[in-house]
């Protein structure tokens, strides 16, 4: 179907655009950038900052370009004097209400307000500074997020993010007029509400009002301490995101350079979370098959299906708050980060002949919820805090810059060993659907002795960016010990973004879906779109990151978790068997219900 185009003009130049398209998009398609603040590609249009105003011939008032559809014959001026003056006024107003102490701000250098102020060369403060008339507080209670209202421009991007992408609604708008602000239920602190620590609000905030709690100095100190052995693990999505902070285009794969950079920062051992991603697959896959056996053969009514993945700590906290009655459906596996942490201070310490209390375990994550997770009381199974510090991809980039490393010029290095070996299956954990795909690659093979019946091991139905994806795989001719699965259609669902998790959980709750296994990632796109990843984010950027992840996988020699030689060695030397006694102590856990506000 071809839709008729309409004729408009932008700054005097004629243009043909699709009917119904906004002025903002029409201008962008025609090479004109209109500044925005409250607009974000991931979110519904709010139209509240008003910096995007443009002049439409014949109208006295200006129109918000992000919220106004083009109409036939519209003559649009995006840079008339009236527009410029108004826009400048609006930026000046925002700054007059803003704690614009850029040099002491975490977002200095990557802030949309700062950029706009710089673009319009706002050099003086003509309006009266409003800060002295207000009382602002900084909420530092959350282990993941710092919320500083004095840096907030009230664009409500965070509120829309938390509602539309995450369905959590931890953030809301409170009060009106000059008192209007972004707040929580009863103005409680961020650690006391339903917030999942996913960090999506941070990723979508244009300013320094919402930032991660950073542990950069703590890590520098540990590195500088000669009596400490500092181990670092890096999550799959970090390697394909990090480059964006350091001069590369989205979708650049920088695994080797990242490893080199970490070595130069002074970490004693640079290891890979992908290793425990592979381990997770063995444990979780076995757990799934065990549950299926209990359900299908033993007819055990207590066994809970569908089993849900448990590697996304944002999702864990979400289910604790929102669907506590389904906590037993969660796989008991800890996340790869926490498995890694527990092994570092036991298996690794022993093998390397180190005192566990001399080890500082650092992880680099695309995630802010992992900061919270590392701090959970459940995560001290090694006898110590399993993971001492969690840094985001962004924090790592800051350290690399601070160390003066020319990232682009770095050589490529390989991860250190013990716990540095990984497979393509481990890497795709970073994309939505990846855990599912990795699990199927392994489980199918365990059960049938054959590879999954997909070309190049690419299980296409679970890939992609659709919010909820379903797939089923039929098991035929299993090995004798899995006879009971013959002909069984293994039904799976994949969801990313908690609002989609809600869809899946609601259909599980209603009984309209009969899944065996569901993968849920708290963040849009999975970890590659995590709350600790480079800012900005958008569907296009996440798409490019996903392509990079799958390219990493297809370039790996080993692409199935159970073939990871280091994992095999781990079982031989230490764990003995999946779901065995040591596994239970170190790698598995249980979660508890939480209040819902």
């Amino acid at each position: 179907m071809t839709t008729k185009k309409i004729n408009i003009s932008i700054n005097g130049f004629p243009a043909q655009v699709k009917p119904g398209i906004t002025i903002l998009d029409a201008a962008s398609d025609n090479g004109i950038i209109i500044p925005t603040l409250c607009y974000h590609k991931d979110l519904c249009v709010a139209g509240n900052c008003r910096v995007c105003v443009v002049e439409v011939a014949g109208q006295k008032r200006l129109s918000a370009a992000c919220a106004t559809p083009c109409e036939e014959g519209m003559e649009i001026l995006t840079n008339s004097l009236k527009v410029r003056n108004s826009r400048k006024h609006i930026i000046e107003l925002l700054l007059s209400e803003h704690n614009a102490d850029c040099t002491k701000c975490y977002r200095n250098g990557n802030c949309e307000l700062q950029e706009l102020a710089s673009e319009y060369k706002i050099m003086t403060q003509d309006f009266i500074e409003l800060l002295p008339y207000k009382t602002y507080s900084v909420d530092m209670y959350s282990p993941s997020i710092i919320k500083d209202d004095s840096k907030c421009i009230r664009c409500q991007r965070c509120v829309r993010t938390c509602a539309e992408l995450q369905g959590v609604n931890a953030l809301t708008v409170a009060h009106k007029g000059d008192h209007m602000k972004i707040s929580t239920f009863m103005e409680k602190a961020m650690n006391a509400v339903v917030c999942t620590n996913c960090g999506q609000c941070i990723n979508h905030c244009p300013t320094g009002a919402l930032v991660e709690k950073n542990y950069i100095e703590e890590v520098w100190e540990a590195i500088a301490n000669p009596s400490k052995h500092v181990v670092v693990q890096t999550a799959p999505a970090v390697r394909i995101g990090l480059g964006e902070e350091l001069g590369f285009e989205p979708g650049s794969r920088n695994t080797g350079k990242m490893v080199s950079a970490l070595k130069r920062l002074g970490f004693d051992s640079v290891l890979d979370t992908d290793f425990t991603a592979d381990l997770t697959i063995i444990e979780e896959g076995t757990e799934l098959l065990t549950r299926l056996k209990k359900a299908l053969v033993d007819k055990d009514a207590d066994v809970k299906l569908p089993m849900a993945t448990s590697c996304s700590p944002g999702w864990i906290k979400y289910i604790e708050h929102m669907y506590p009655e389904y906590l037993d459906n969660l796989s008991t596996c800890k996340s790869p980060q926490q498995m890694f942490g527990a092994l570092v201070k036991t298996y690794y310490a022993k093998a390397r002949n180190l005192e566990p209390d001399k080890i500082v375990s650092v992880s680099i994550m695309p995630c802010t919820a992992k900061k919270f997770e590392a701090n959970r009381p459940e995560m001290f199974d090694s006898g110590y805090r399993d993971v001492d510090y969690v840094l985001t991809t962004r924090e790592l980039a800051i350290m690399i810059k601070q160390a003066g490393i020319n990232f682009k010029a770095l050589e490529e290095s390989k991860f250190d060993r013990l716990m540095g070996e990984s497979t393509g299956a481990g890497v795709i954990f970073g994309a939505t659907g990846g855990v599912m795909e990795a699990a199927l690659r392994t489980a199918y093979e365990i059960v049938t002795g054959r590879e999954v019946p997909f070309k190049n091991l690419e299980i296409a139905p679970v890939r992609g960016m659709e919010g909820v994806r379903e797939a089923s795989i039929k098991i035929e001719n299993p090995k004798p010990e899995w006879k009971f699965l013959d002909g069984v259609e293994l039904k799976c669902a994949v969801a990313h973004g908690l609002v989609n998790a809600k869809t899946v959980m609601d259909s599980v709750k209603k009984g309209t879906a009969s899944y065996h296994f569901i993968e849920i990632m708290a963040c849009p796109g999975g970890c590659l779109g995590g709350g600790g990843q480079p800012i900005p984010t958008s569907p296009e950027i996440r798409q490019k990151r996903a392509e990079a992840i799958y390219a990493e996988d297809s370039h790996m020699q080993i692409r199935k978790s159970h073939e990871n030689p280091e994992v095999q060695k781990l079982y031989r030397d230490f764990l003995k068997e999946p779901l065995g006694e040591i596994s239970h102590k170190l790698l598995h856990t249980k979660y508890l219900p939480r209040e819902r506000f």
């Binding site: 139209g47 200006l62 003056n85 409003l130 009230r154 708008v173």
Partner: protein
């Protein structure tokens, strides 16, 4: 020059006619198109402040293909100095309800709401009794139409039509982007006619006596009568029904205390007219030929020479700073800057020329604010600052 015009009292709205069943019967026997034409030819404009032609509003809503549509009576009456809607709902509620049924018939709605200002809770019981009578009537004649009272919760901004929908939908009362307009995308995203209480009451007159009767009152572009809420320095505060188009001079002759210094026409979001401009100002909707002509939701506040215009402005700005919903930059921050700004000038912390910067700011607010509240702050600000500049400074 405004047309010279004697003050003409009228008595339509509050005339208790007790004949709604007849009037409604007559309305329902006519087809929607004829009723729309009747309304259009009466040239009735919305009495809630914006002055949009009512017939056109109903027409657009009637033309929408939607299965579900709504009629909403805006009884949020929050404009400072306005108290006419309360009187209408108390004394002649059946006129408003007749109009709502008529509107439902015209546009094809099966549900209607009265959005009642929270402070008017005491009207609710009586109102619901009258609603019961109407619903009974509708049932008898097989007309499917239900009316509910929805209580507001005290924010001025919720009188703005799209914020009102949001509030009814259980969300925060924040105005939406326009377009789309309520007639195509209103309550719950459905075509909705929202009218002020008084607008609806006028349609009773029009449908009962015919459009001509209404059209013959008032002047060009401003037809019919209007209720005025008269307050301030006047010996006779109260509600008066007057033909539109009178000059402010005539109005002050009638209602002033002999020492009237200025009149605020249209409440906090309206204009302040100084004595020297009384004769040149007419009360009505802007038309091409009528000179200065000020629309109003009906609030007329008189100030005599004992009043400080600085205090008046300070008061309005405080109102806006607090009642702005706070979502958009020009209004939220602009209102704070205006208020703090005039205080700073008054205390000589800023030079008098700072007022000019503030005037330019109100222009930006008028051009860029998301809704009528922020857009209209310029009205009182510029009319007060321009006419009483010396009072702002010393």
């Amino acid at each position: 020059m405004a047309t010279s015009y004697q003050l003409k009292r009228a008595d339509f709205i509050f005339k208790n006619e007790n004949d709604w069943e007849q009037v409604l019967g007559k309305i329902l026997s006519q087809n929607p198109q004829d009723l729309i034409n009747e309304l259009i030819s009466s040239e009735l404009k919305g009495r809630g402040g914006a002055g949009f032609p009512t017939g056109l509003k109903w027409k657009v809503a009637a033309e929408q293909p939607s299965d579900t549509k709504y009629v909403i009576c805006n009884a949020d009456e929050g404009e400072p100095g306005t108290f006419k809607d309360r009187e209408i709902l108390q004394r002649v509620p059946y006129k408003v309800l007749t109009a709502m049924v008529a509107c439902a018939h015209v546009i094809g709605a099966r549900e209607g709401f009265i959005y009642l200002r929270n402070e008017y809770w005491f009207l609710r019981n009586e109102l619901e009794k009258v609603i019961d009578e109407f619903e009974y009537y509708c049932k008898e004649i097989n007309l499917e139409f239900k009316i509910k009272v929805f209580m507001g919760s005290g924010a001025y901004i919720c009188g703005e039509e799209t914020a009102l929908f949001e509030s009814m939908e259980g969300k925060r009362g924040e105005p939406r982007n326009k377009p789309p307009y309520p007639t195509t995308w209103g309550y719950l995203g459905k075509p909705t006619v929202i009218n002020n209480v008084e607008t609806l009451a006028h349609t009773y007159t029009i449908f009962k006596y015919g459009a001509k009767k209404f059209y013959d009152l008032g002047v060009q572009y401003s037809r019919g009568t209007k209720l005025f809420s008269v307050s301030g320095d006047t010996p006779k505060p109260g509600i008066y029904e007057l033909e539109l188009g009178m000059s402010l001079q005539d109005f002050v002759y009638e209602f002033g205390d002999g020492d009237t210094k200025a009149v605020q026409v249209g409440g906090a979001s309206g204009f302040l007219v100084p004595r020297k401009k009384f004769a040149d100002t007419a009360i009505g909707y802007q038309g091409k030929l009528t000179g200065i002509s000020l629309p109003t939701g009906g609030s007329m506040m008189l100030f005599n020479s004992s009043r400080s215009m600085y205090n008046v402005l300070d008061n309005y700005l405080e109102f806006f700073r607090e009642e702005s919903c706070g979502q958009c930059t020009p209004c939220r921050v602009g209102c704070q800057q205006l208020l703090i700004g005039i205080k700073a000038v008054k205390r000589a912390e800023k030079p008098a020329s700072y007022l000019d910067k503030l005037l330019r700011l109100t222009e930006t607010m008028q051009y860029t604010a998301k809704c009528g509240l922020g857009q209209s702050v310029a009205n009182s600000f510029s009319s007060i600052v321009e006419n009483f500049r010396e009072e702002m400074i010393y």
